[in-house]
């Protein structure tokens, strides 16, 4: 792999293992509730592993450390995936997975900043994350703070007008400290995103708006590492986007092959089967 991890991954644990651990933790949480956005979590695990164990600078013991890179989860329903990553990163205690989605839990079904250490914003009302990211990136520049702002959004959010207001604004303000990650799994609530507003080639669209745009296989860790490195190292004074094409349910074959919907149904007895399947694919 191209570059050394910055922090949080000073151990010899591979990114592959990190991604596997994130998938496993997400499945464990899904099993607790008997439901969850597991399709998205399995699909985006490699992107989160690359973010938290290669790209982001943070201190697990101090999630509000001023020097941290900010990671915004615009897609609140992906919370199960981010909780798994935050546990893997040591920001959330691993044993809390059993409380996921329960009364009094710090891990509600949709991500909210006031509930969870490491959850930067309250997402869920889709299309808001990138605008908030623009404001945070402006704020960091005012403070001469060199941290990056990452905004993780979905392909469905490409349909929100507010996303494009923020896209234009990031170019206007030359926000070279802003990295937007689009999880493109081509699956929004009513069907394929490509059949809705995510039509046309995404990278040229963002590039036409003045962004540095990359499009990668979001389940290819080497490709992700290279894309994140490029986005961070770029010297051009422009915002950066990485469009990550991911596969829903990645890593659990019988779910991958199921008719994929926005909210993947997993029967009660299938959680343990999914965990067993994942175990078979445990990285060496």
């Amino acid at each position: 792999m191209a570059a050394q991890p910055r922090v949080g991954n000073l151990s010899n644990v591979s990114l592959e293992m990190r991604a596997w651990n994130i998938r496993r933790k997400a499945l464990l949480m899904g099993e607790v509730q008997g439901q969850g956005y597991i399709g998205q979590a399995l699909g985006v695990a490699d992107v989160l592993a690359t973010s938290y164990f290669h790209a982001l600078d943070y201190r697990p013991e101090d999630p509000e450390w001023e020097g941290r890179d900010r990671f915004l989860l615009s897609i609140g329903h992906y919370a199960i995936a981010l909780y798994a990553a935050l546990m893997e990163a040591g920001i959330l205690p691993e044993e809390e997975f059993e409380t996921y989605g329960m009364d009094d839990s710090r891990m509600p079904m949709s991500g909210m900043a006031s509930y969870t250490p490491g959850m930067e914003i309250t997402g869920g009302s889709l299309g808001q994350g990138l605008g908030i990211a623009v404001g945070m990136a402006l704020g960091l520049k005012r403070k001469n703070n060199p941290a990056f702002v990452y905004n993780l959004m979905s392909d469905g959010e490409l349909g929100e007008g507010a996303t494009w207001e923020a896209v234009m604004s990031a170019t206007q303000w030359r926000l070279d400290n802003l990295i937007c990650i689009v999880d493109f799994n081509n699956q929004q609530a009513d069907g394929p995103s490509r059949d809705a507003l995510a039509v046309g080639a995404e990278a040229p669209k963002w590039a036409a708006f003045g962004w540095h745009a990359q499009e990668v296989d979001g389940n290819d860790l080497d490709a992700l590492v290279a894309a994140f490195d490029t986005a961070r190292a770029l010297t051009e004074p422009k915002p950066r986007v990485i469009i990550c094409h991911t596969k829903m349910c990645k890593g659990v074959d019988f779910l991958e092959n199921r008719e994929i919907t926005h909210f993947v149904r997993v029967e009660a007895d299938e959680w343990s089967r999914a965990l067993a399947k994942l175990e078979d694919a445990r990285p060496a």
């Binding site: 006031s114 808001q128 605008g131 623009v134 404001g135 402006l138 704020g139 507010a162 207001e165 206007q172």
Partner: protein, 346 residues
């Protein structure tokens, strides 16, 4: 095609002639509110913000292509490096303001009240209010202060923001309120929505009560009177005070309680003053639905008070376009309209 439910207004309008029996031209939106007989102060909001920003480094200003029309251009000119022109994008305006607040700044974000309350509401709700972030929203053209018609007349903004948890809501009357509310908005730890008056803004309150100063969350008696208690907010306090002087000549003694903070409401003062046997009239530059009138009525009922209760407010309609003085007469929120309605209730 005209559907049965649609209202077509092709026929000559029902708007009556202006106050002097003359047809009056619609004024430009940037025009100041006419207030005869009062001294005026130029751009009090903008100047107050500049003054405060001199001592508070956290303050930044943002506008969505309406800095000139919200008096934020005064700040932009004085402190260009602390001003963000966000373009004609109100959803971005408020989400970016939320982001700046997250990074420790105190953003004052301005646009028109219609755009904040209607277009950007979800962004104000979720990016700002849900986390109680200190974003200060200041919006021009509140209620019926433009003759441009419903696209620019924010007749339901108070109802919308009253419904939003954590949001403080202010409707200032005059230059004194505007000057006083800016530091109060900054000092409050959470989000604030304030209506703005811009341009040449009259000085009303200190003429009637020389020691008046704006206090967040406080209702204040501006004028005492034995027969009628007008509980008013925003520019309707000016109307109430002017009406009271006219009614005094007819031996009608009108008290005026000014309530510039709609939320949190100064319930204690309102109940104390309402319980003294006078006719209670709530006057607001807002729809009759969901504004100060309903807020006061709720508190009176909860407290078991049942004074004779009337409201001077805008109807539950999309209002007409036309000249502002004509429209204020038409909808009963001119001084003349206030006098007439109070007389009718005595």
């Amino acid at each position: 095609m005209t559907l049965a439910s649609m209202k077509r207004k092709y026929e000559p309008r029902r708007v009556q002639l202006g106050p002097d029996g003359q047809k009056v031209a619609t004024s430009a939106m940037i025009a100041s509110l006419a207030a005869e007989g009062y001294d005026t102060v130029a751009a009090p909001f903008g100047h107050a913000l500049v003054n405060l920003a001199k001592t508070d480094e956290r303050i930044v200003g943002l506008s969505a292509d309406l800095s000139k029309y919200t008096d934020l251009h005064v700040f932009a000119k004085a402190m260009p490096k602390r001003f963000y022109q966000m373009g004609m994008a109100e959803q971005l305006l408020f989400s970016a303001a939320a982001g700046l607040a997250r990074e420790g700044f105190l953003p004052f974000a301005t646009t028109y009240a219609v755009f904040a309350s209607r277009r950007a509401y979800d962004f104000i709700a979720m990016a700002i209010a849900e986390e109680n972030l200190p974003v200060k929203i200041a919006c021009a053209l509140p209620g019926l202060t433009t003759g441009y018609g419903p696209s620019h007349q924010a007749t339901e903004d108070l109802a919308i923001f009253r419904g939003l948890p954590n949001m403080v809501v202010i409707d200032p009357c005059d230059a004194c309120d505007l000057t006083g509310m800016v530091p109060a908005m900054a000092a409050h730890t959470g989000p604030v929505y304030a209506r703005l008056l811009r341009g040449k803004v009259p000085s009303v309150l200190t003429r009637h009560k020389p020691d008046y100063r704006f206090e967040l969350g406080k209702a204040q008696m501006i004028r005492e009177g034995a027969d009628v208690l007008v509980i008013s907010t925003g520019i309707m306090t000016m109307r109430a005070l002017d009406a009271a002087e006219i009614l005094a000549k007819d031996k009608v003694d009108v008290a005026v309680l000014h309530v510039p903070t709609i939320k949190p409401l100064d319930v204690e003062t309102i109940l104390k003053e309402s319980g003294r046997g006078r006719l209670v009239v709530v006057a607001e530059n807002h729809s009759t639905n969901g504004g100060l009138g309903e807020a006061v009525a709720k508190e009176l009922l909860l407290a078991g008070l049942a004074p004779t209760f009337r409201m001077i407010s805008l109807p539950d309609e999309f209002l007409e376009a036309g000249a502002l003085p004509t429209l204020h007469d038409l909808y009963g929120i001119s001084t003349k309209g206030v006098v007439k309605q109070i007389k009718g209730w005595l």
